[in-house]
Amino acid sequence: MPESAVLELKDISKSYFGTTVLKGINLSVKPGEIHAIVGENGAGKSTLMNLIFGMPVIHDTGGFEGDILMDGQIVKITSPRQAMELGIGMVHQEFMLIPGFTVTENIKLNRELTKPNLASNILGSSMETLDYHTMREDSRRALDKLGLAIDENTFVSRLPVGYMQFVEIAREIDKKNARLIVFDEPTAVLAESEADHLITAMKLLAAQGIAILFITHRLDEVMDCSDTISILRDGELVKYLSRNETSVDEIAELMVGRKLERGHLPPRQVDPDDNDLILELENFKVKMPGEQVRSFNLKVRRGEILGLGGLAGQGKVGIANGVMGLYPADGQVIKDGHALKLNDPKAALDAKMAFVSEDRRGVGLLLDESIAVNIVLTSIEAQQRFLRRTFLPGVRLLDQKAVREYAAKIIKDLDIRCTDPNQPVRRLSGGNQQKVCLARAFSLQPEILWVSEPTRGIDIGAKQLVLDLLVHFNREYGMTIIMTSSELNELRTICDRIALVYKGKVAGILKPDASDRDFGLMIAGKQPVKEVG
């Protein structure tokens, strides 16, 4: 390498509790270079950044293997503070600013310039007066470097959201020794024009000799500003590219890759038909924090397994939560030709829909109650089943015998591993808890089953079982299944069609056997040249 690298990673590996998240990563950044790191959710991007920045989460979980080199010297970064001293800065996805402070105060936070006064002579340096004049000049200089024309005396709370990111960047470059700045998906919360501005600022910084690590999944931006590109997939560095010799298509294809083979799925008696719709969403909006759905349109065919894919934060998770009435929704949902009353969980349940939440412990289960109760409670409340009459008219009590028999049956059918139906679900493994959630939804005998992230946080063996179960529900009982998942490959193994969600809208619908390139482009919000599906 002609120039010496500011930062070099050699053979970095990291595992959390036996799960390998990074495998033999090699990477180097030169001064003035913008190096982009792209990959799907869970590819290991964040872990890599935490590692470089010395976040405690890395050391609390047993450290990592391999070496980090700065200017050719091995360094041990054990805390963010040390990383800062070495000249590594970080611009976070969420703003870490104090709204009630001015821009200057935020930039200089904890690095204030001071001058001595009478009190400090007696009581020590902590009583020194702040040197506002110099601090403002410094801030001004940093803001000018970014080409930003905001007043350094305004309160951060009064700034437009897009500008807050720049204050963070200004803080990083104001540090005298700033050599490398990590941008962690900086454009995720910005509007288009603001993002352009940020890219310009990044180029400006690079021109001044600062090395930049740029994490993103917006492929346009990668092509726009980066010099070199690393693609991560499942914790491995699959390709190191130079921008001049690659294309958006190639990056997209490398990013997705293909792991699972679509197994042989059992045949159906009747194939889903485009004219037989069970559910239509029109101009559907959901206010779910972090997963906003904006003007979403979708037609679901009776009896199919439809996948909802896309990156985290793009709104795919919000759809099921909105339809089921758990988050405020607006728009039209038409089930079997009838408009569904929105924002009413009872109405959704009455429309023969059931939901397995992505938040298993938070929404899906009563952790301290027994397996049996978890399975039947929703059926009792929504459909008044498992109740027996008493001598008093109108008063009905829990039918213990029916519940016991039903629980025993479904535990056997779904192969839930437990000691007995009275065991609290808290003591079950993740996979078995998920089966309890599925049993709860299944007991409602739904026509449409919404499943969100069904395999999150459960081990690989259990994953396959859960997917098999969904196929079983679909083929055996004709349930229409709408499955939301961050793992595209999982969707591609069992779904008939996959709708990709980007910025709260459908970016496109693909067949599971569409090319990796098409999937990669669509999750990044770009249309493939040729329309598919």
Binding site: L326, P345, L377, E381, Q384, A407, P421
Partner: protein, 358 residues
Amino acid sequence: MELQMTKGKRISDPSHLRDFYEKFGLPRLIISLFLLGLFMLALIMKMDITLLLSASIDRIGMNGLLVLAMLPTLVTGVGLNFGLPVGFVCGLVGGVISMEYNLTGFTGLFTAMLCALPLAIISGYLYAALLDRVRGQEMMVGTYVGFAVVAGMCIFWLTAPFKNPAMIWAIGGKGLRVTLTLYEHYSKVLNNFLVFDLFGVTIPTGLLLFFAFFCWLASLFFQTRTGLAMIATGANPMYAKSSGINTRKMRYLSIVISNVLAALGAVVYAQSYGFLQLYTAPLYMAFPAVAAALIGGATLKKATVSHIVIGTILFQTLLTIALPVTQTVLQGTDISEIARMIISNGMILYALTRNERG
């Protein structure tokens, strides 16, 4: 909530013992042993055990309903009903109205309850509306609502147009007295119903039956659809919501039920005590009830009827036995009231600092 399983376990099974221990819990085991020790001590000191036992049983029945009032709010996750005085004063108003018309015996008792009922429902609803606005701080706000209501009622007791000379101040002829004796009205009608002596211990059958009846009702209630909805609301509000349960309605309902139980409990308490205590007497009514529920093993996360029953028995027996015994042992020193305060408030403190399992 647990299903009754068909397969039985033998008592001798060691896992059975461990199950029992896990269910019963260490605090209750310690208190039970402490109680046992006190009984031994009382025997050694040659105290009248039968008298102590009679008093204990009396107090269990007398306070049972007030402790049971803690159950609905605990189940729905509203927390301990520190606003117990809200319901309690409704019971007192009912009691006073019944007395005004010189009703006696069971007629007097049930009239008092019937008069208290609508008052408790209305005030319970208003109280629930208030608690709904201060989610997460129900217990603290409830405490002060209780205090405020008791203070406000002082004005009512003074100005209410009651005429019965047995009730109003002899001088001035206006305003109710601080303590009204029920001796000629419905004092101890429940206590004396089917009362009998067992080895010298007086068993107030009616009183115990009344408490048992309400416990039975409560356990049945939590097997109905509404009751189960309440359990779900408390255990996981999001699960409840996703099951189509109106969690806010369940919280309202639980507070109203708790308030009604407190009102009925107040009437039972008064008839057993023999007096209606007005003005500031209901001020600290909530604390012994809270302490009893917590001693019984109820936590802010989970509570059942059995916790309430066990708690009432342990706490009230402890109070009635510990004080005379300690007084006899440490002759001459009057620590009864101090000990009562330490035990009940200490227990509340202990339980509230441990949000998980009691």
